[in-house]
């Protein structure tokens, strides 16, 4: 493998910095999903922690370094999960955290950011506008701008999931990773390709937010004018060049899935695994649903990366009707 920006030794060292409450998360086979999906399915569950997503693996690194350097404040743009995680990690280390988010972001995520004592600023636009505003705040206040996927700590924090995957017996054939800004995909992908290169790394994005997938396919940054997906956690429009470069080195494929498949995936995870997940966390199951032949007979791990949903929206999505068997 050509060198990514990530470093495996640093990722191993990160395990000693991250609060253990975010490490060594459940990894287990879920046979009840298998008849409908036609392959062996294991779940890596990143939701059973105080912020209900994997993002704190990265923010623990960021906040720890900032505190070690005597910094007192940080700002980030977030669709909600990074902000919640940075607020949690910062609070424990005496950092003033500001989070900039779209006013259209998931209300439950915004509520939790406020509850964790962070300053929340809403912008009247999408996530890309929030990124611009966060950068302006950082420049004006002279504080650290935490940029998801660009900042190496966000990638290497996520990469600790990879360490927990490659050490397992029995091993698996494929890992399915939600693709947004790319921290999770390049992080896990780096470790998998460095330590278990035979394992296939497949990234999944919604058809309604395809910028990074289009960029991966064309091997150059492709932006879009808008996004249209319920998977708020991965709805970016402007891929970061350095992150794309890493993704090109570690991803075996990047696929796009329909909204209907994401919803069916959420329903299946509820019905067969008893898991409430946010749309981004159902992308892996959606990818299997859309291409069963590709995965038939294989052992697939899907990373369930977050569970922060507005309950009313969740009920609308999964409904009360029994799941239609395929």
């Amino acid at each position: 493998m050509q060198k990514t920006r990530l470093d495996t030794a640093r990722i191993r060292a990160a395990r000693r910095v991250i609060d253990p409450i975010f490490l060594d998360t459940p990894l287990y086979r879920c046979e009840a999903l298998e008849p409908d999906l036609g392959c062996m399915v294991s779940i890596k569950l990143e939701t059973a922690n105080p912020v209900r997503s994997f993002k704190a693996r990265g923010t623990e690194l960021v906040a720890s370094l900032l505190a070690d350097n005597g910094s007192r404040a940080a700002v980030c743009a977030s669709a909600g999960n990074l902000g919640q995680a940075l607020a949690w990690s910062g609070r424990g280390r005496g950092l003033d955290v500001t989070v900039v988010a779209s006013r259209f972001a998931t209300a439950a995520k915004l509520d939790r950011i406020r509850a964790l004592d962070a300053r929340l600023e809403l912008v009247d636009g999408d996530h890309e506008l929030a990124r611009e505003r966060a950068a302006a705040i950082a420049q004006h206040d002279g504080i650290r701008l935490v940029e998801d996927s660009l900042d190496i700590e966000t990638c290497e924090g996520a990469a600790t999931i990879g360490l927990e995957l490659v050490g397992t017996v029995p091993s698996f054939d494929t890992v399915l990773i939600a693709l947004g800004g790319g921290a999770l995909a390049t992080g896990v992908g780096h470790v998998v390709k460095a330590m278990a290169p035979e394992v296939e790394v497949i990234c999944i994005q919604p058809l309604g937010a395809p910028a990074m997938t289009h960029s991966w396919r064309r091997r150059r940054v492709v932006t879009t004018d808008s996004t249209n997906t319920i998977a708020d956690g991965v709805a970016g429009r402007r891929p970061i060049p350095a992150v794309l470069d890493d993704l090109l080195l570690v991803a075996d494929d990047a696929v796009l899935v329909q909204e209907a498949s994401i919803i069916t995936g959420m329903r299946m995870l509820l019905e067969h695994a008893g898991l409430v997940v946010e749309p981004s966390a159902a992308l892996g199951v959606a990818a299997i649903l859309e291409d069963r032949d590709r995965f038939a007979g294989r052992h697939v791990v899907t990373i369930v990366c977050g569970s922060n949903v507005d309950v009313a929206a969740y009920h609308r999505w999964v409904g009360a009707a029994p799941l239609h068997r395929s």
Copy 2:
């Protein structure tokens, strides 16, 4: 503490026998629950494993001992979770497992028992009739009858949860434990009272299935003629004398809660923790809801012991309406 039937050294040794997939489960503070509950709340999550309940900690011990002794078969009565766990543990060790259950048991639990290759026999009555039938099968076939809560492995398996609780920092004040047959309560209670006796052990049962709580209060076995609760996992009518004796040594209190509180507890765990739980797993939250003053300002751990629900029933219980704030 007077001696229970359980042995702390044997419980420590049990950790080496139980498949690690069932051990070291998530334990984390859930601040989003705290405004409504008025105390610090941590969750011990026993649902993120292949059988979605804590029961496999015990069946791993049972099945391992049976396999070591050259046994080929076992039978148990179950409301669903023990049967699923014994089926899982037995399948991996070449045991023929028979599960006897009420035909009124949760359909999803019965489906999973069948899917795990166990023989399932339904009786036209409640769990106590299933226990009688399982005993008859064991006697007729000359195979091991696995009796939940009476068989020491089921208690000592559950007790490994206690080991994971007492070692934590910061420590907590109270542990809330669903009370059914008593394996979970006597198991966790034994370890807590042996290793952290200052921690309060509170057992919770539904008002509609109060036999063990009544027995604990009167210090003698009290049976009931029927049960009436959605908490199928704890709906016994005939407490086992030896288990009651242990419970009298380790429980600081046993309380009864209303069905409405169980349902509110399930809703709160969905809305504020993103967790789908079966009714038995909401008993702890229900107990706090019914007596906030008792727990005010304390740090309480509640064991979320299972998530096997029929999704249609779950939707009926938690509904789609937003949670009413108290």
